[in-house]
Symmetry: C2
Subunit: 330 residues, 2 copies
């Protein structure tokens, strides 16, 4: 039996990347009244393809929250058709980044509005209204910031590494092009200041969460409010995506404890208050707690909508009554 | 009974804009062996929409020749679906320029290749191969040249006037932005030099044919070979589009004879050798002939594929054995 979270009024700010982050954001959106949830989404994956501006993480989060996402793939839209890509294929065009017909409309209209001078955050707000999506979804920045992946083959733009080369190249490092000039999007810093707690969703720490946290001005704004992160690594593996492979290639054994240490470092040691790990990793809980964190051990794998809601409920209970360093099992 | 045209080997260069030009080009393509036909297409209508490079006349000509065109609309593709535009509509995007799903693939892949550094003529050649289209179709230029329409509301880009405002503004003049810097696309001047005759298809003289003829270097190349134009005005009206309205608004009574005089002027008086008018305009034939032209009077309205072929056959007979100034009725 869990307590009703909505009895306690608290504004939550969630940081999210793609599929895993979108799932927990969806769970949070099912529990919190819309004004009490703001989701800040990674845009380091954004890229240009066919002349269109594509924001894969923003779209995954919005489609997921609006109930438009394809549950089978985790990206793109459900009930999608592929007429355009089939005709592109006949012209010998590239098929490595699959663009469904309905999904394409998002990229076309986003690109049109950007060229008209609207900002990515204005456009995202407009799209969310059109899709009937109530919580605030904000791109982390309106400025161009491109996650670049260092590999023995050279420095690759993220989608080139992630989708085109299927994460096959060995990762030797990352950098975020445009980081120095980028600013958090309008609304991001105020939303952090109004938040009673910050939830780092189970997204890839290297390429989904780090770009957000590294934005100039972001970490100072986090000072003084609890930050709780959910491990995207369960039993040494990523539920989806290359996070575990990246840890290995960078010389780190992928494990929940390694992610906790990574976030501790990304958050300058003192900003991370709590960490959420899966029951399969319970053996690591004491060691993580010993680094000064409150640790929640629960089921973090979200198998369906109920699982998203359930994890969201437990994370909210945890952050709302954040205990002293130690282990909580729920 | 008409003679078989293919008995006489002659290379034909056709100049074309959109729908009417595409129909006669299709008729010519049904009669001439592919190496003997080159079609040079207006690109003054090209524009950017949703960040994509759209070449309406090139697409109309290619779709028509490839049997992919929508016979009902004259633009776009047959058996088309509208999934993307419906989703764009839900996002509040502009619907004034209708982009079918299959048609969109053309614009996406064209834009991608242009951004990769390929030229419009290289891309067009590639698309023609992909669509199984045999005659050479060349954009008039690889350089940007934009037909601008002068109106009391200001100077409008062509598609803004033509599609968005449905040709409603009064026309006071035209200019071609970029004309001085534009050059005929590679292949255009050699094709003119190899042609035994040039056929100006029944397209809008003001906005489809003039931009081609005005290209630097084009008229000198036409010297010494017969140029025959087909009137797009029949019985004082344009079969499709605003040509007749433009003549009226510019103070000229729309008539086949007015088009002949217009082409005479566009072609510096001496370059036009022959003119083709519809039977409905037979009364004007003598007056046109009196200006020094050979005039063919025939049915120029192309109601179906057979009509296109029939007009093409008569035009080819006319240009191949071009008579002295006077009237031929066929």
């Amino acid at each position: 039996m869990v307590k009703r979270v909505s009895q306690r009024r608290s504004k939550i700010l969630a940081l999210a990347g793609g599929v895993g982050g979108a799932k927990l954001a969806h769970g949070l959106a099912q529990l919190l009244p819309p004004p009490d949830l703001t989701i800040v989404v990674n845009t380091g994956d954004d890229f240009q393809h066919f002349g269109l501006h594509i924001s894969p993480d923003l779209d995954t989060v919005c489609y997921t929250l609006a109930g438009l996402a394809n549950p089978a793939t985790g990206w793109g839209r459900e009930a999608e058709s592929w007429t355009v890509m089939e005709a592109v294929s006949l012209l010998g065009g590239p098929l490595w980044f699959q663009l469904g017909d309905r999904d394409l409309a998002t990229h076309l209209e986003r690109t049109r509005r950007l060229k008209e001078g609207q900002s990515l955050s204005e456009i995202t707000r407009h799209f969310c209204q059109a899709w009937g999506l109530l919580p605030d979804v904000l791109p982390m920045s309106d400025d161009p910031l491109s996650t670049m992946v260092h590999t023995p083959q050279g420095v690759l733009p993220f989608q080139e590494y992630f989708v085109h080369l299927r994460c096959e190249p060995q990762v030797t490092g990352f950098h975020f092009e445009g980081l120095e000039q980028a600013r958090p999007a309008p609304g991001v810093l105020p939303a952090i200041q109004q938040a009673s707690a910050v939830v780092v969703c189970p997204s890839n720490p290297w390429v989904s969460i780090a770009p957000i946290l590294e934005l100039p001005g972001l970490k100072p704004a986090l000072q003084g409010r609890p930050v709780v992160a959910v491990s995207p690594i369960i039993a040494g593996q990523a539920v989806k995506g290359p996070a575990a492979k990246m840890y290995r290639e960078l010389g780190i054994q992928p494990a929940a404890a390694a992610v906790a240490a990574h976030y501790g470092s990304l958050l300058d040691g003192g900003l991370l208050s709590g960490f959420v790990i899966d029951r399969q990793d319970a053996a690591q809980a004491q060691a993580i707690a010993a680094t000064g964190l409150a640790v929640l051990v629960t089921q973090t794998l979200m198998l369906d909508a109920a699982g998203r809601r359930e994890l969201a409920r437990k994370v909210l209970e945890f952050v709302n009554e954040l205990p002293a360093p130690g282990v909580v099992i729920s």
